[in-house]
Each structure stands twice: as structure tokens, then as C-alpha cells.
């Protein structure tokens, strides 16, 4: 459960479902908004992660 990626996906899933049900009534509009929000959050997170990759915040962690 402590995988960063898995937690990000679960978080995106919860929030996307919440706003989909809060903001849309028709089934098709719900599906479209859900996909936009979910893949927007997961994809955006991955893009930001790769943009930060060349700029580590500190020395690399020692290999155990």
C-alpha cells in the first residue's frame, strides 16, 4: 500500500469519482469527466515527476 504510484492512482480515482458524481448527472457526461480528471491527474503527476527528475532535492539515498 506504500507504493507512491499506487497511492497516487487511488487518490486520483477517489477524487475523480467524487467530482464526477458531484458535477454531472448524465451517464455519458459522467464518463467523459471521470476520464478527463483521472488521466489528467495521473498523467500530470507523471509529467511533473519526470520534469523534476533532473533536479534531485538532495544526495542520492545509500543503497542498502
Amino acid at each position: 500500500m506504500l507504493s507512491h504510484f499506487l497511492l497516487m492512482v487511488v487518490y486520483a480515482l477517489l477524487v475523480s469519482l467524487f467530482f464526477t458524481i458531484l458535477w454531472r448527472r448524465e451517464r455519458r457526461a459522467q464518463l467523459v469527466l471521470f476520464l478527463q480528471l483521472f488521466f489528467g491527474m495521473v498523467g500530470g503527476g507523471l509529467i511533473v515527476a519526470w520534469l523534476m527528475y533532473p533536479f534531485p532535492s538532495g544526495p542520492p539515498a545509500p543503497i542498502p
Binding site: M1, L7, V10, I21
Partner: protein, 147 residues
């Protein structure tokens, strides 16, 4: 040749805009819906006869809370001189009864040393803020501004 028909039969006025919105409820019922929505996530929607939506919202907020607790996220309380803790406490207390049960019933605080501490805090904050939106949504429905 003058057109006399238009002066005798003026064009009909456009029909009034049809809205599917309900009549606003009396103010006491609006306040009751908001209070119930704050106390128990989704209960405001159940009170407003949106039971399915209310149950789904309850499940989503509880899942977020459950994940936050299982990750040992921080349950904020105000700290003098640290103003952001007031804001964070307000955000988490918006989840209603679950917040107070955790704080005063189980004396839950979270563990800063836990590996999932930051993630858990984000989930706990999100649960409270989702319920704040549910309170505002219940108010919109009760006042006839939303279906």
C-alpha cells in the same frame, strides 16, 4: 405594398425558459440539510431525497478517511503561532462526526515517523474538504439552485 399582417398579428413572445430545478425549501430545512451534510458525509443528500448519491458520497469520504488513518496521517489540531494549523484543522473538521470521533473517541493523532504520514495527511485533508463541498452542494440543492 405595406405589410399590414405584422401590425395585426405581432410575433408571439418566446416561451419561458423551462428549468428542472425544484422550489427552494424553507430556510430551516436548508439549514438542517447543511447541518446533516456536515455531521455525517452524504446524510444531507439523503435528507434531500438523493439517497443513492448520498450513499456514494458517504462511501467515498469514508474510504478517504480510512486510507488516511491506515497510513497514519496527521489529524491536525490548532497550534498557537502556527496559523496554517488552524486552516488545516478547519479543513479536516469539515468531515464532521468522524473527525471528532477520531480525535476525542480514539485519541488518534497519526505518527510522524510512519512511512505514509504525508500521504495519509493528504487523504485526511481531502476527506474533510470533500465533505465541505457536500455541505455547499446540499445548500445549493435545498435552495433550488441545483438539481
Amino acid at each position: 405594398m405595406a405589410d399590414t399582417a405584422s401590425s395585426e398579428n405581432p410575433p408571439a413572445a418566446p416561451p419561458p425558459v423551462q428549468t428542472a430545478l425544484a422550489e427552494p425549501l424553507p430556510m430551516p430545512q436548508q439549514v438542517m440539510a447543511m447541518a446533516l451534510a456536515w455531521l455525517v458525509p452524504g446524510l444531507g443528500h439523503v435528507y434531500l431525497k438523493r439517497a443513492v448519491r448520498g450513499v456514494i458520497f458517504f462511501a467515498l469520504v469514508m474510504i478517504a478517511l480510512g486510507i488516511g488513518i491506515s497510513l497514519q496521517g496527521n489529524l491536525y489540531q490548532p497550534i498557537r503561532g502556527q496559523w496554517l494549523t488552524y486552516l488545516a484543522t478547519f479543513g479536516q473538521a469539515c468531515s464532521g462526526i468522524p473527525y471528532f470521533v477520531l480525535r476525542y473517541g480514539f485519541h488518534y493523532q497519526g505518527q510522524q515517523e510512519a512511512a505514509g504520514y504525508e500521504y495519509g495527511t493528504a487523504f485526511l485533508l481531502t476527506a474533510g474538504l470533500m465533505n465541505l463541498l457536500l455541505v455547499l452542494d446540499a445548500r445549493d440543492i435545498a435552495s433550488g439552485q441545483k438539481e
